[in-house]
């Protein structure tokens, strides 16, 4: 049986275990990109000088995102309950809130909170002023938290409605009337459905922190920008910050995956 040369080659290549092949291709790809950038004039020494500094700015990014997440989750739960409630006032308010937040870009909401609250406060007494004039970081946490809360509440709602009606009937047939036992049956099922997309939102929050710098206090991205434009090495610094964000999101996704598997594969 004649075997073509190409087939022979691919048969040999296929002997190499798959992970090795994957890494080889990744390495080749990244080397090619690096060579291309070097060709275009990349300043590697500059990058090596500044990477450490830019890395040290990373914890703030993570903190803001975590704080926003901590705000977003309970808020999202409240919104979902509001959306699904019998009370038309609760339904209406929640729906309006979600609609506005999902219908407007985050950057506008960010600026709005930063600008609007002090202006509102200027009308009121002193203590309200002190309360409502927020640092850019706090504003960011609020804005990002509210923004993603609206989206997450939709996920919760979808998860909630996706629980089969049969479950409700079975529960009432058994005689479950206490809220706690229903909480044990319906809520966990809804959460299983909604959890993975929700965790994706944390990753989005990490990226959204890049916008905070536009409020005046430079976060990772803006610091990189400033350093770069001062030294005419903008591309390099932006590249570093881009890679840092990428690493952050990739690591977060891995962590989420591990948690996902540990917690949810019973």
């Amino acid at each position: 049986m004649r075997i073509h040369l190409l087939d022979q080659f691919s048969l040999i290549v296929r002997q190499i275990p798959l992970p090795v092949r994957e890494w080889a291709i990744r390495l080749i790809l990244l080397t090619m990109i690096l060579l291309l950038l070097l060709q275009l004039g990349l300043d590697v020494t500059f990058m090596m000088q500044w990477t450490g500094f830019l890395l040290s700015l990373t914890p703030l990014v993570v903190l803001i995102a975590l704080a926003a997440l901590a705000l977003a989750l309970p808020l999202a739960a409240t919104l979902t309950l509001g959306r699904l409630s019998i009370n038309p006032i609760a339904r209406g308010s929640a729906a309006m809130f979600v609609s506005i937040i999902r219908g407007t870009p985050l950057i506008i909401q960010l600026f709005f909170i930063f600008v609007a609250l002090p202006q509102l406060a200027s009308v009121g007494p002193d203590w309200i002023q002190k309360l409502l004039v927020l640092s850019p970081t706090l504003t960011a946490i609020l804005a990002i938290g509210f923004f993603h809360a609206a989206y997450i509440s939709e996920l919760f709602r979808a998860g909630f409605l996706s629980v089969q009606p049969g479950q409700w009937e079975a529960a009432s047939a058994i005689g479950m009337s206490t809220s706690q036992t229903k909480r044990r049956i319906i809520w966990p099922q809804a959460m299983k459905f909604a959890l993975r997309p929700t965790t994706n939102h944390f990753v989005m929050m990490l990226k959204d922190t890049a916008l905070v710098g536009f409020l005046g206090v430079p976060i990772l991205f803006q610091r990189a920008e400033r350093i770069g434009s001062q030294n005419l090495n903008l591309f390099e610094t932006l590249l570093i910050s881009a890679v840092i964000y990428w690493a952050l999101t990739a690591v977060s996704l891995k962590v989420i995956d591990i948690i996902d598997r540990r917690v949810f594969s019973q």
Binding site: G41, L81, G92, S93, I100, I107, V203, S229, L234, Y245
Partner: protein
């Protein structure tokens, strides 16, 4: 009338079991929403918002809407193209194809859009003066690259949603994998992918606000510059936000109507 009630703590949650009940609640809900809106507006007016100013400047913002729509549309089309190529590569069995695709998705899902935009518009010329892009070019490319990565996953999962029996039937007839993909799988996958893709147009539209930071005179940046010049930032922010919101609502309802039409077209066949 059978309501299924559930108590989470003290909150009563209600799952509608009859459409007539649903309609009444909905009406109430719309009423509440309308009154909330009016309440907001009056509150701001009371607090000294210059509504007349807002109405004056509205035309200036409305003028930018076509640009926003066009930029978003171009970016969406490009993103779909990128997403399709990446999805097909991602679905391949051979690492030579799926490793780069995975890398693309991972990279552009992980880099914030604003960083990408800055790299494309400000960063590239710094690297090499040859690489000069106009703001709009950089904006469209950036939006497309970033959202293309997300669309890749959408397309990929829609291809995987096509029942495997279809692929088997195509193979049993003797179709090559190319014929199978393009004639049988992708047409069915496209139908599945249409609603989320249409959604992405709306996402990209909102993302496009960031393009203002690299110099495109679109809705957000116009509002910002007018507001800063006249010291009426809050008014312009509210105005811009309202315009975005209305655009989103209009586009969403168009999308819902189209989806309903497509639904009935298929169910008519049953």
């Amino acid at each position: 009338m059978r309501n299924i009630l559930n108590n989470f703590g003290s909150a009563k949650v209600w799952v509608p079991t009859r459409s007539s009940e649903f309609a009444t609640i909905l009406r109430h809900e719309k009423l509440v929403q309308a009154s909330l809106l009016l309440g907001f507006i009056t509150m701001f007016m009371v607090l000294g918002l210059d509504v007349q100013y807002m109405l004056d400047k509205l035309p200036l913002l409305v003028v930018t809407i076509p640009l926003v729509l066009v930029i978003s549309f171009c970016a969406t089309v490009l993103a779909c193209l990128l997403g399709l190529i990446a999805a097909l590569s991602r679905l391949s069995n051979s690492p030579i194809y799926y490793v780069p695709a995975k890398l693309y998705v991972s990279l552009f899902q992980g880099i914030p859009l604003i960083v990408l935009l800055f790299i494309l518009y400000f960063g590239l010329p710094h690297l090499n003066p040859v690489l000069l892009l106009t703001p709009i070019q950089a904006g469209i490319i950036g939006l497309a690259l970033s959202n293309g990565a997300f669309l890749t996953e959408v397309f990929r999962s829609s291809v995987l949603s096509v029942p495997e029996g279809q692929s088997e039937a195509a193979r049993a007839i003797g179709m090559s994998s190319r014929q199978r993909m393009w004639r049988i799988i992708l047409p069915q996958a496209a139908r599945i992918a249409l609603p989320p893709t249409a959604n992405y147009y709306i996402f990209i539209l909102k993302d496009s606000a960031l393009v203002g930071f690299i110099g495109v005179a679109e809705l957000f940046s116009t509002a910002q510059s007018i507001g800063q010049r006249d010291f009426k930032i809050l008014e312009m922010l509210l105005l811009a936000g309202a315009v975005y919101w209305i655009i989103t609502i209009v586009l969403s309802s168009i999308q819902t109507k189209l989806e309903q039409r497509m639904e009935t077209a298929y169910s008519r066949e049953t």
